[in-house]
Symmetry: C2
Subunit: 649 residues, 2 copies
């Protein structure tokens, strides 16, 4: 079966393949013909007007790979129109960022050379594929059960029913080589090439790496103070007050400054003032056919009351149950801890002193396993809640995961600090938890996928050699390799890891000043391993326009509020401070509470007073708005005048 | 001197006068001629294209009134164009609120009968007058010192230099009669006619009255619980815990629900989704001529660093000094209080028991006087800080006034409650402060202005009769009367009063349950006196589009957070609760603090979870946005197609 022009490496020059579509290998021929026609059809007929071709393998044997693999490309003209559709912001001749319009194309900087990056082209193609809508078809040809209705996204329907297995953007080998060299291959003392990362992977990922870098640098002062603290005051448990005060200030300033950095980055990338497009329903969203109250179109509707029922009657009890389980495990850990201490006290030698650390290590591993299992359960549950929009799905998922991870990781530390009030155990427990989880994370996140990927690569190479002999077929080989790669599931897990590290540092690091040092070291390797996994372990992800780190800003801010409370309480518990109030605990507590309230109030005032967007960017944004208002006025005036002159004639 | 057509009562039919302009009586003739020409000139020549005429008095004597009074009106066509300029939202045929455009005028509901209310017309005329800009004039003709530059608002310049004394909208006697009847003249058990108020006075004022009504109704349950509490537990100081818990919940729910009510009102009035227009500099703003970085136009620029210096080196120390003074006065009050108690204890009879209340009453009067004096000082200082925008001026003024008023009114109560821990004195002090300030407020706010106004009216009537004999000249008389009326300075003082009442009720009412009853009674009379003063004491104000109560929402929310802290502390201090922890204060304090933290967290989560805008209005807003996006797409598609067909020919 051959549909239209085929792209083998001999005629790849017909267009640059940007996106790969993989359909199930038993897809019916009529469905394929229909889909390709719809993709190729002109826009005024409701098509996507893109270029698409099947990948054909020269030799065919029994172990042949899936034949239904297609590559998609586009003409420049179509891409420019698409750039306007998706509301892309590009640099204007005067240096400001403006929404691209085809009519003004010549006024944009560098319009004639490499105007759209690969990532942008791929994002535009994804948008056009996603918004390819059914017309009057009642179902997908050849699949009477794959119902369609006017306006339904064809790609989402095929995806939700498993006919479309995946679609992903292709790597650009040249660019990738250049990027990975400047990013992590040369040993250097320079910052990450954020603009290049954004150019290749899009704004969402570049913001994550920007945040990672910022967070690491922000920790350096704390680490620098921590080392002498650790070296000279290690056995002097009383002297952590100063460090707690430093923590307090640091965790507040840190987030306020990041907001401004993030705004500066997002402005430079043109996502700060970009308007959110109308959000499509998720691929997995289902419901009875009804009318969308906003668009007035027919589409599946799922009553919000049913979803609320599922959330409050199933999800919330499940989360509570998991929290209970986590507490139970914590209690088991404490039992183990006491058992180990007892053995050590009975017979103090090297073997038993090592045994002291065993319960903490086991507990740390169990915590990681529970987090992982819960993560899957949360994803399943949130999917089952049937949210209409991806953003709402994400918010509910993040909330579920955050609450559990927070309790699971920090409950034991809170218990040790405030119920047992045992600062020695707190220090030991914190150190073990932190180090174990860092090691586990690096293994799970980078080395394991890398090892799996290498095995897979070898297999694919072998198969390719068998299939094609010694012919040089770079495109076919690349598509085969990348189809088998793991899919990068977004920045969720990466942010989550940073969130927990931030928690360890801001909540309790005053009793274990080395925590900041450990986190800095972890994050330096994290940059390299994350960079490596993005470039070589995972499929290239579609670029995701982002104007800030979204819900994570809120999560980090909540953590920093909790950090104020915790640090104040730790200060109140310190023998150093207690010495000032020898006779009355009451007075000490009242003073600590009063100071805490003042600090919290100050934090809120600070967040309110410091503008989230730096002044010069505010001016630029205001200027843009003013210009567009003026242009609108002029156009309206012109229209009116024309209407007036028509009236007179 | 007579410029153009004169409007006396004989030819008033030439146009409906809507706005009155009063120039200084020694204004030079050439300046007047120039101004009137600019107002009358066509829009394409940069004029306002409005109708304007001088008011002429038939008889002239020595005691003649200011001759430079002008009335302004407009053609319907001009008003409709202006409605589009100011971005007015009106009801569309399908019941939604949409931005008015002249092109679609026929699709709006009731377009052909009374489409624009008087208040809207006057608002449009104000906008057109305010945006009447200087062209190439270097100064106002006849006033070489009144410098102008291209783009400067002519009216603002004239106003800041005192040539334009005032401009204000005229009352509409028919509408006013109808409104005041349905508002406060008939004794009835119905709500205020908010839609009519909005129709006559605009959205800003209607929202204030809506808030006043909502606040009063919200207090009714508290008042109903308060009466039996007061009657049966008056001498039982221990039993306020339940009431404090009720206060806690009430003050949180109250504000969340109001946000939704306010959004509903604002949506119905078309201000919810209305975009803010580009803000003009304040009339009093001055600085060296420079370039506005946003518009690129030449205009006065005042460096932000200088303003910061003025704020931090003068305003902040001044506010701190005032706060110190307020504390000093408080200490004097406590001395007086002890002196009175001593006298009573030495010789307890009726005279000395009355004497017990004297210090509180004196203190309450002093507080009111200090608030008033500080108010003037704050206005002067904020003006001197030379803010460029009215909104920034208002924010700084509100902040200054709120901080001082809060401390001045509540510091003594906090001191009595938490330092002296004397609940009997707290109750007595609260009652005296509340009652005295209510009485003073009603007198200052309504009766005094009314009495002054009546005296002034009589004088004007006498003068009019002397001037015109028995001729019936309703317009001339009306303008003369209204020119002399006081100007309503906005809702600031009204909101401030409600803010302080909210403070009395939410902070300490658990120890004096009658507070809510007093506030309800006060607010019922407040509705009547405020309504009366708006209709008969003050000049009609220009309508002010408002989508919410603005900075006051924040102020009330801050107060409700403070209320949580205060009520928790009062609960912790109550003997009832203390009885549960007979041996250890420490445990009690820790539990109270923990509960307080949970409540505060719960409050923030609640504010986050409850949507500020009700669901059905969200859907309507999304629908509007979707429609406008679709319309834009269609238009762009059409433009492209036309461009395409041109290319082909």
């Amino acid at each position: 079966m051959q549909l239209g022009l085929s792209v083998s490496d001999s005629d790849v020059s017909s267009f640059t393949p940007l996106v790969v579509l993989e359909l199930a290998d038993d897809t019916k021929a009529e469905a394929i013909t229909w889909l390709l026609n719809r993709i190729r059809d002109k826009q005024q007929n409701g098509g996507a007007e893109l270029l698409v071709n099947q990948l054909l393998f020269p030799a065919q044997d029994d172990q042949k790979p899936n034949p239904n693999v297609f590559v998609v490309g586009s003409t420049l003209q179509r891409l420019l129109n698409g750039a306007e559709d998706v509301g892309l912001f590009k640099e204007f001749q005067d240096g400001t960022m403006r929404g691209f319009t085809y009519a003004n194309r010549e006024s944009f900087k560098d319009f004639n050379e490499g105007f759209l990056s690969d990532a942008e082209c791929q994002y535009i193609i994804k948008h056009e594929l996603d918004t390819l809508r059914a017309k009057n078809e009642e179902h997908v040809p050849g699949y009477p059960k794959l119902k369609l209705y006017p306006g339904k996204s064809v790609v989402r329907r095929l995806q939700s029913k498993g006919v479309l297995i995946q679609y992903f953007p292709l790597h650009n080998k040249e660019d990738l080589k250049r990027l990975s060299f400047s990013w992590y291959k040369k040993f250097k003392l320079s910052l990450q090439p954020l603009d290049d990362i954004r150019h290749y992977f899009g704004e969402g990922l570049a913001l994550y790496f920007g945040f990672l870098e910022y967070f690491t640098f922000a920790l350096v002062p704390m680490a620098l103070i921590g080392i002498p603290y650790y070296l000279f005051d290690w056995e002097d448990y009383d002297k952590y007050v100063l460090f707690a005060v430093f923590n307090l200030v640091w965790s507040t300033v840190f987030l306020e400054v990041w907001k401004r950095c993030s705004a500066t980055l997002a402005y430079g990338w043109g996502t700060l003032s970009r308007k959110k497009a109308f959000e499509e329903p998720r691929a997995g969203f289902h419901g009875a056919l009804g009318f969308n109250p906003v668009t007035g179109r027919e589409e599946p509707v799922y009553p919000s009351s049913k979803r609320q029922l599922r959330i409050y009657l199933v999800s919330v009890p499940f989360v509570l149950l998991c929290l209970y389980l986590s507490f139970y495990v914590m209690m088991v850990y404490f039992d183990m801890e006491f058992w180990a201490i007892n053995i050590y006290n009975e017979n103090p030698d090297i073997a038993t002193s090592i045994l002291l650390f065993v319960p903490s290590i086991i507990y740390a591993v169990v915590i990681e396993i529970m987090n992982l299992l819960y993560r899957f359960a949360a994803e399943f549950l949130t999917d089952w809640e049937n949210h209409r929009l991806e953003s709402s799905f994400q918010n509910h998922l993040v909330l579920k995961v955050l609450v559990f991870n927070f309790v699971n990781c920090f409950a034991s530390l809170f218990y040790i600090a405030f119920v047992m009030q045992d600062m020695v155990l707190l220090r030991q427990s914190l150190a073990t938890l932190l180090i174990t989880s860092q090691i586990l994370n690096q293994v799970m996140e980078a080395f394991l996928p890398y090892w799996l990927q290498r095995r897979r690569n070898k297999k694919v190479h072998k198969r390719m050699r068998r299939l094609m002999g010694d012919k040089e077929l770079p495109l076919l080989g690349q598509v085969q390799l990348e189809t088998e790669m793991n899919t990068y599931l977004g920045t969720f897990d990466d942010y989550l890891e940073q969130f927990l590290l931030f928690g360890y540092v801001s909540l309790f690091s005053c009793v274990y000043p080395l925590a900041a040092v450990l986190v800095v070291l972890n994050n330096i390797t994290e940059v390299y391993s994350d960079a490596f996994k993005m470039c070589h372990v995972f499929k290239r992800p579609f670029s995701e326009p982002a104007m800030n780190i979204g819900v994570w800003q809120l999560a980090f801010e909540t953590m920093s509020i909790i950090a104020v409370v915790t640090n104040c309480a730790l200060i109140g518990l310190s023998p150093q401070v207690k010495a000032y109030f020898p006779e009355s605990d009451t007075q000490l507590i009242l003073i600590v509470v009063a100071i805490e309230h003042v600090l919290l109030a100050f934090k809120f005032i600070l967040a309110f007073v410091i503008p989230d967007v730096p002044k010069h960017i505010q001016v630029n944004l205001a200027k843009l708005e003013f210009d567009s208002l003026e242009a609108l006025k002029k156009r309206e005036y012109k229209t009116k005048k024309e209407a007036g002159s028509e009236d007179q004639t």
